[in-house]
Symmetry: D2
């Protein structure tokens, strides 16, 4: 039975490595896959999924208005697809997440999405909100914070390694460091205005 | 090390049973807990966590403006708390979810939240969005759809058992049925406007 | 698609509560279940699954030589079964675990087993070895050690609450305390003879 | 808090890739790791962890009599270790698994083991039995069977691709294919003698 997976993790946990391994596992069994990657991620060249550990391969580039259901259904008609994989899935629009549910439910093709939960201020990405809400299986890929704890947040750093807490949600090319929630100091950077009252 | 858990499930999966069992496990070891339940849930009497399987106990009632960090810190000072449990956690405000992260990170008390991911149209609850984004561990409690698949969505039914797809997000007292995504027909009830194009 | 689940936990984590809740979830949807419990567990009366939190119900008693596949197939023919549940599943024989895999694979009925991983000396139960090896999904039910950590081992205590480290693997009626591995002092009670060399 | 992980999977799921990614994650944060690999696995050259997807690196070779606690403690004294990783962990002896628990509990270093649950006849490896029994976290790495289901068993194939069901438990160099339990036909190859009675 086809299922809808969201593999979530902080930056640099190995999401792309895991995606490439999964695609490889299908293809080794002569099963065809399709890999989608968002246009705005051009760190490694447009249309490429690359992992820092040294693996890469070409991928289909999608933009916000693309209909991933129609695209996949069309490819599936040409040649049977056994798996749909999406890198940097936090950049999907909510509508595209809905299209992915239909790939699973109507076309019966498993969908594996890999992405972040939250941005540099701890805010969830719109795409991630719907991935977390609608996926059949939520699987965490773990990585380590410099504090030794599990890293679950993504701090943005400038060229000198200093923390940046203002700016746009999407800003490809800046540096990020995966951090545990207390190191990240969520209560200080979150747009939600809350400070622990003094008396406590 | 204290952690922040979100136990999520569809309606009637046994969330309250699981909460009551966890509280019991602590108290059997003479560890004190505090249980919060939102005011709007008065199905079983205000201030009570009750499971359909026949268990219930009293709980602290919170409202949208309550500061759960201050409340817990105050109780913790009077008598050491080993665990904070929140029933119907989808009704937390985002600010209250932030307060819960501080209970974990500053007071070092584990927090266990139990709640739904999505409402009767498949939309995530605001509280759930932040629970999914910020919890250390996401754990699914499973239940079954009449179709035999895992149920992950919550259909609202009127008194005659007919599906209701319009109305307010919160409507305690109506009936709900846990359903698999395809039985729920997410694409037909979601506020996100998407239909599969005809030609496909 | 039917699957074979092993819900494992230390003593007193709420395994029976969870089993009873799962059976309830099926029956609420008018789906029939069968519950098996081993003969040697007569703490709460022969043929009963009971949880310390106050729930109980009748169950089918099995012994080591019973063929659970044939038994289930026979019941399934009389009236369609939607789920098979096994309490205290560590007491299954390896052959019975094999029979359970066939209930899933041939009869297409989901099987949910609940049990311990290890005994009072940290040795795995023979049934648990095969449940861990062959189940489709391994799900931990968590409980707490007096040390505040997750409890994963089961210390045997005599009437006065003193630790017992010699005796038979199965000894119903004695007291047990769920403990974290370091509190349990696995290296001191395990039949595997190993002491950290002095020089280190 | 250091924990003991067992990442289990069928053949060719990407265990070594995952291990290499995890080591990379630590080292990128300037944290030192040690990687162990058993002597008998010389497919890629003695002392090397290699993944089929194209990654490899050197590793410490251990044999059955090596004391992994003493070895690690010694290295840790020379230079602080942040993580111990073990490839092909099914080949650990039960005593070595006990030593690994002490690395976690006494030295407070996380241990990540990667290995198989069962052999070509569905029998658990002795090391895997104790990894499954004693690890703090059991995490499945998934791969796909040619049937489209999740593969959880490892069929041995001869040079012509024919199934082999007799032979030694350990036989490096032969080919293996990850299969779902029903495709693997566990009941036909298991040393446990059980056939479904004819009348059923």
């Amino acid at each position: 039975m086809a299922k809808f997976y969201f593999y979530y993790a902080a930056m640099n946990a190995g999401k792309s490595t895991n995606l490439l391994q999964s695609a490889h596992n299908y293809e080794e069994r002569y099963m065809k896959t399709i890999i989608f990657t968002p246009k705005l991620d051009d760190r490694y060249g447009v249309g490429k999924v690359a992992s820092r550990i040294g693996l890469d391969r070409e991928a289909e580039i999608f933009e916000g208005e693309d209909d991933l259901y129609v695209w996949t259904a069309h490819e599936h008609q040409r040649e049977k697809l056994s798996c749909v994989l999406v890198d940097e899935a936090q950049f999907l629009s909510p509508k595209q997440v809905l299209q992915l549910t239909l790939i699973v439910d109507k076309l019966k093709i498993p969908v594996l999405c890999y992405g972040l939960r939250t941005d540099f201020r701890g805010e969830p990405f719109p795409g991630s909100v719907y991935l977390m809400a609608w996926a059949d299986e939520l699987v965490e890929l773990k990585t380590i914070c410099k504090s030794g704890k599990k890293a679950t947040f993504n701090a943005r750093l400038d060229e000198d390694g200093n923390r940046v807490t203002e700016g746009d949600q999407v800003s490809i090319g800046l540096n990020y460091e995966a951090q545990a929630r207390d190191i990240f100091e969520l209560d200080k950077v979150s747009p939600i205005d809350y400070k622990i009252p003094e008396a406590n």
